[in-house]
Structures are given as C-alpha cells and as structure tokens.
C-alpha cells in the first residue's frame, strides 16, 4: 500500500546533503548536532511554558474558574510573564548546604529529560536519533532524573527536603517497574524496541485497538504508573505542600526552582508522548485495516498534528487525574504498586504473549 503521509525526511536529507557538500564530514556532523540541540532546546522551553499555561487552564476548568485571563488574549502570555519574573528573582545561597551538589542537582534532572526527548518521533521523518533500542533508551535515560531529586533533597540540608527526596526516590524506583513492564507488553505485540518500527507496525490500527484486552490493561497501568513516576498528583508526595512545605525543592529559588518545575512538566510531556507513540500510534493517522479510502483521507492530515493531538489528549488525562483525586499516603502508594499494579502487569504480559502466539490480535 502506498502511503500518502508526507515524509519530512525529504527536507532533512536534502539539508544533510547540502551540508555534506559544503563542509568536511566533521563540520557537517558538528553543525547538525548543534542545530538539532538548539531546536530541541527551543522546543523544550516553549512546550514547558505552554504546559504550565495548559495546567492552569485545565485546573481552572475542573474547579469552575476562568484561570489566567489578563495577560494577552485568554491569558496566553501569562506564563511568559511568570518566566521573566522567575528569571529576575534572587538566587538565595544556603549557608550550610553542599554548594556543589546543590547547584548541579537541577541540571541532572533537566539533562535526563532533555536526553529522552531526542529519541521521540515527532512526525514522519522528523526523528533525531532512531535507536535500535528506542524505548529502552528512553527508559534508561529518564531513570537518571531521580538522582537529581535525591541530591537536591540531601544537599539542601533541610529535613523537609530530605523527606521529600526519600519519598520521591522510593516512589520512582518502584513505579519504574510498572512503566517498564507495561511497555514490554506492547513490545511483545510489536516485536521490536525501535520506535520507528513500532509506529510503522501500527499502520493497520493502533496497538490499543489491535491488542484489545491486554493492550487496554497495559495502557491503564502505564497511565497510572507514569503519573506516579513523574511525581504528579495524586502521587505528588515528594512535594506535598501541606506536610513538607515544598519537598525536595523547598530551598531552591529563582531560575533553579524554574528548572525543577520545567523538568517536571517536560517529564509529563515525555511520558505522554511515549504513551501516544506506543499505544496510540504516534504520528500514524487513524487507520482501520482494509478501509483503503478512509485511510487515504486520514493520511491528508499532517502526521505532526496527529502526534500533537494524541500527546495533548494523554496530557489532558494526566491533568484531570491531578485535579480530581486526593493525594495518597506513602503506604497506600507503595501498596498500589507492589500489591496491585505489579501482579496485574505480570499476568498481563503472559496474556499478551499467549494472544500473540495464538494470533488472536488483529
């Protein structure tokens, strides 16, 4: 079947040829690396800003309020104003803190999420690195963010920060298992870890439809575990403001605090785009196996729009969680993971393997 989806790699490869003709390979690669780095950095900043705006709007919607509506139309520039305010705030030095670790902690958190973004397929042909082990790479890199949180809590020399860091460590280490295992369920169905192959494999229907029951269970488990892994409510024990002031980032001010804040939102974005890519087909338009005409019409909607739409949908669900559920206690949190999600996940993997072996998927 010839696909009508526009392939952005036409532009990227012609640009690559242009560089290769005019520069030596060393400089061509160096220029490409810098350009991609700058592009991802800009993307990171813009998406981070507008996720904060979206969160405030969604929160307002859930609570029957209007939300930010003064700065620009519909309060659209509110978060830019907030950013400028944060940039101008004083960075308060802590007297008895471990200065070095205190200062590098925000960077570890932000670099971990920054590295994960490079391997996400944004549209057909718009994919910075397509690793053979794509999903595994994203899991590996994003698991390093917790180190930054632990260091931040310890280096602040403050008992609230310390308790927040310990909680967040216990939480992330345990929920990582569920995230990984629910992804493994879909990897069994796709037969590959490479993100481009996984997206291509969904051209006859997204995995959440073709994998039916086990895929839906995996999707639900992934959403719960991913919300917990990004330290978002109702699992935001690490920064529970009613008991720990602000948890691990109590002592941070100004732009260093903004780094933690931004990294939290970007982790949510990364998790949402993994969910969109693995379960909902990534940039692949809504295809139904056999319906040629319908599939062709769907192909005319640009692949980037499909990707953004699905990611926004998952992000909306995660924000909905945050503003409608009460916060869990730490023992409830760990019970949920070890006594419910993990066994469900393990059984679900076996069901999925059985379904794939018997050929019961579509």
């Amino acid at each position: 079947m010839k696909s009508n989806i526009f392939d952005l790699s036409v532009y990227t490869s012609s640009f690559d040829h242009l560089l290769m003709e005019n520069f030596s390979p060393f400089w061509a690669v160096a220029i490409e690396m810098v350009l991609i780095g700058v592009a991802i950095l800009a993307f990171y900043a813009v998406v981070g800003l507008y996720l904060v705006y979206a969160e405030r709007k969604v929160c307002a919607f859930m609570q029957c309020r209007v939300g930010p509506n003064r700065v620009g139309p519909y309060g659209f520039f509110q978060t830019i104003a907030d950013l400028i305010k944060l940039l101008m705030k004083e960075l308060i030095p802590i007297k008895n803190a471990d200065k070095l670790l205190f200062n590098i902690a925000p960077f570890i958190v932000i670099i971990a999420s920054f590295m994960a973004i490079a391997a996400i397929p944004f549209a057909k042909g718009l994919h910075a690195i397509d690793f053979n082990i794509g999903i595994f790479y994203i899991m590996a890199v994003s698991s390093m963010g917790v180190v930054g949180i632990l260091i931040a809590g310890w280096a602040s020399n403050n008992k609230y920060s310390m308790i927040g860091a310990m909680r967040s460590g216990a939480q992330i280490v345990s929920y990582e298992l569920s995230v990984g295992l629910s992804l493994v369920t879909i990897v069994i169905l796709a037969g590959s870890l490479q993100l481009s192959t996984i997206v291509e494999a969904q051209s006859n229907g997204w995995f959440i439809f073709t994998g039916h029951i086990p895929a839906v269970i995996a999707f639900v488990v992934f959403l719960v575990a991913a919300t917990a892994e990004t330290n978002r409510g109702p699992f935001d024990l690490a920064e529970a403001e009613s008991e720990l002031t602000a948890g691990f980032h109590t002592e941070y001010s100004g732009i260093k605090f903004a780094f933690f804040f931004l990294a939290e939102y970007m982790n949510m974005f990364i998790v949402a785009s993994i969910a969109a890519t693995i379960f909902l087909g990534g940039w692949m338009p809504l295809h139904i196996g056999g319906w040629e005409g319908f599939n062709n019409i769907m192909d005319y909607i640009p692949s980037a729009l499909w990707y953004i739409g699905k990611t926004a949908f998952v992000i909306f669900i995660m924000m909905w969680f945050k503003w409608t559920f009460p916060r869990l206690r730490i023992d409830q949190l760990l019970t949920l993971e070890w006594k419910y999600l993990l066994p469900i996940n393990l059984v679900n993997i076996m069901i999925m393997a059985f379904v794939v072996l018997m050929g019961w998927h579509f």
Binding site: P25, F26, V29, A30, N96, A97, D98, L100, L101, I104, F131, N132, I133, F136, Y137, M139, A140, V141, S143, M144, V146, V147, L150, I151, G153, W154, A155, N157, M162, A165, M166, G169, V173, E176, G191, S192, L193
Partner: protein, 170 residues
Amino acid sequence: MSIHELMFYVFSGMILLFSVLTVTSRRILRAAVYLLFVLVSTAGIYFMLNYQFLAAVQLTLYAGGIVVLIIFSILLTSHISQKFEPIGIKKMVFSALAVAAGAVLTIMTVVGYGFDSTVITSENPDMETIGLSLLSYGKNGYVLPFEVISILLLAAMVASIVIAKKEKSQ
C-alpha cells in the same frame, strides 16, 4: 582528528578525572555523584562504539539502579556535615605505590600485546539476536548462565523477603 577520536578523548578524560575524584573526595555523597559521572561516561563510550544495547543497560543498571541505591543508603545513614578525615602520609604513599604498580603492569600488558589494526565490521546486534542467543543452547548460546543467574536472583529475593518480613505479633 575525527569526531570519534575527539569524543573518545573527551569521554576517557572524564572517566579518568571523575574516577580520581571518586576516591579522593572527602564527602561521601559527592563521591557517589562522581561515580555516577564515571558510569555515564562509560555509557557514552559504548554509544560511541555503536553498541547501544550495552550502553542503555549501563545507564539503567548502574546509573539508574546501583547509584540510586548507593545514594539512598547514604541519605539514610549519614549527615551532610559529615566529612572523612584526611588520610595519613603513610597510607597515601603505600596506596600511591600500589596504584603505580598496577598501572605499570596494565600499561605493559596493553603495549606488549600489540593490537592488530584490523577492521572488524561493526555489528550492532539487535534485540532479537541478543534475545535468541540468551535462550539458545547451541553455539553462542547462553541459556546455562542465564538460568544460573536466575536462580541466584531468586535466592537473593527470597532471602531479602525473609529478612524484611514482619513476625506475626502473638
């Protein structure tokens, strides 16, 4: 200088620098963080060699797993004001001698081996090959070590559960 050589020097420089800092730092959490940097740089070398699977394993297991556990246990046991005493001259001299002897031995072996500059076609084994050879018992099969390690892991898990289990209050 090609981009690969440049990257190699950057990564090995980082590994050397942070390894030394890991063992000389007098604050325990800083030592753990330097160890993290060493492990991440090693993963960088694996990425450079195009062996992505091992690199990701290095990041998940060592950087995301073991270092997190080390940091966790430091958080539970030590206080921020704690600093190790500087070691005495005698200890310093003897450890320097031991390190120098080890380094000389390793360098002599490496130089004496005389590596052939043959080009091996860089194979990047995909997940399917790795998975199949883990579970096959023919040539290049690893099913025996795989099973032995599983039993070891099972024993460790049972042991930790027994230690952590609460006694039923009578």
